[in-house]
């Protein structure tokens, strides 16, 4: 094994990057003051790393595609409808569902920071948090969509929804052609994360 270190790097524990040390300092101080519980931090990380993700939102969309009455209720009051399905809690308190139609395509951003419907989609991807997306999608949504490989018909308007700490949006993508016989589980497999942000379309079977 190549071994060309000139100092004693191998002898001590690997020094974490500077921001990691800042987080450790915060965690230590707040724990000592009794303001936080380290076990709760682990639980939060476990939840978002492994349990909550866009499959939740996909179930909601598939149900909306399959059941017109459900879709009406979802469009009317997404917060309580999603809560009934067990999708509620952090950053899901005020959910609004917006439906893509032949006339209008919806796309979601948070220009302030990175507000996002966690219970339905999990933690946002890096690009959602980037300056490039946050600034550009408002100015030129069609160009951003093109970057995602989405070309909309000229007659389809694009509406950009700016999330806030109070309101989070879920896009209900258009149901793809050729899915008439599919059940909810099969439909949910076609619903991508990006399609629920409005940066993509649902997959075709």
């Amino acid at each position: 094994m190549p071994h060309d270190h000139h100092d004693h790097d191998d002898d001590h524990a690997l020094l974490p990057p500077d921001p990691a040390l800042r987080v450790k300092a915060l965690e230590t101080l707040l724990t000592r003051k009794g303001l936080i519980d380290p076990a709760a931090l682990d639980e939060i990380i476990e939840t978002y790393a492994h349990k909550v993700g866009p499959r939740n939102g996909a179930q909601v969309v598939a149900k909306a595609w399959s059941d017109p009455a459900f879709k009406e209720r979802l469009l009317d009051d997404a917060t309580s409808v999603c809560a009934d399905l067990g999708f509620y809690g952090r950053q899901g308190e005020h959910l609004v569902a917006v439906e893509n139609t032949a006339e209008q395509h919806n796309i979601v951003v948070c220009t302030l920071c990175s507000c996002y419907p966690w219970p339905l989609l999990g933690i946002p991807p890096g690009w959602y948090k980037s300056d490039a997306y946050r600034a550009r999608v408002v100015r030129e949504p069609r160009a951003v969509l093109a970057d995602f490989g989405v070309q909309l018909p000229d007659g389809q308007a694009v509406r950009v929804w700016d999330s806030t700490a109070e309101i989070r949006y879920l896009v209900i993508p258009q149901r793809p052609e050729g899915t008439d016989g599919l059940d909810e589980a099969a439909l949910a497999d076609l619903v991508t994360r990006d399609s629920m942000i409005g940066c993509g379309l649902a997959n075709t079977p």
Binding site: H12, L15, V23, K33, I36, C113, P125
Partner: protein
């Protein structure tokens, strides 16, 4: 699903910083809109000098915002944080590789 799932958090400290804000909010240390406001301001400040890519730089802003909101609300003191950070750094450098890294209880 044809794409391999991406890790939700690219680095452990991203996850730890994220969890700290969520947990503090749930413990009532601050309301989420207060957090979003401070974080939004920090993101805007950071974005003045470079275009943020939503990765490390996003979570660096997250940590700046955490420190700012915690000091403003008197949950944490800047000096205490600096001292603990230095203690952790020394602990890593002085702990034999493979041993658990600890600092003395304050």
């Amino acid at each position: 699903m044809t794409q391999a799932p991406q890790p939700v958090f690219e680095a452990p400290w991203h996850a730890q910083a994220f969890a700290l804000a969520v947990h503090l909010n749930e413990k009532g240390a601050f309301a989420w809109p207060d957090w979003a406001e401070v974080f939004g301001v920090v993101l805007a400040e950071h974005g003045l000098t470079k275009e943020l890519d939503g990765g490390d730089d996003y979570f660096l802003a997250w940590i700046d915002a955490l420190e700012r909101i915690c000091t403003r609300k008197n949950l944490a003191e800047a000096e205490a944080l600096a001292g603990l950070k230095a203690q952790w750094e020394r602990a890593y450098l002085n702990t034999p590789h493979g041993d658990p890294v600890r600092i003395d209880a304050g």
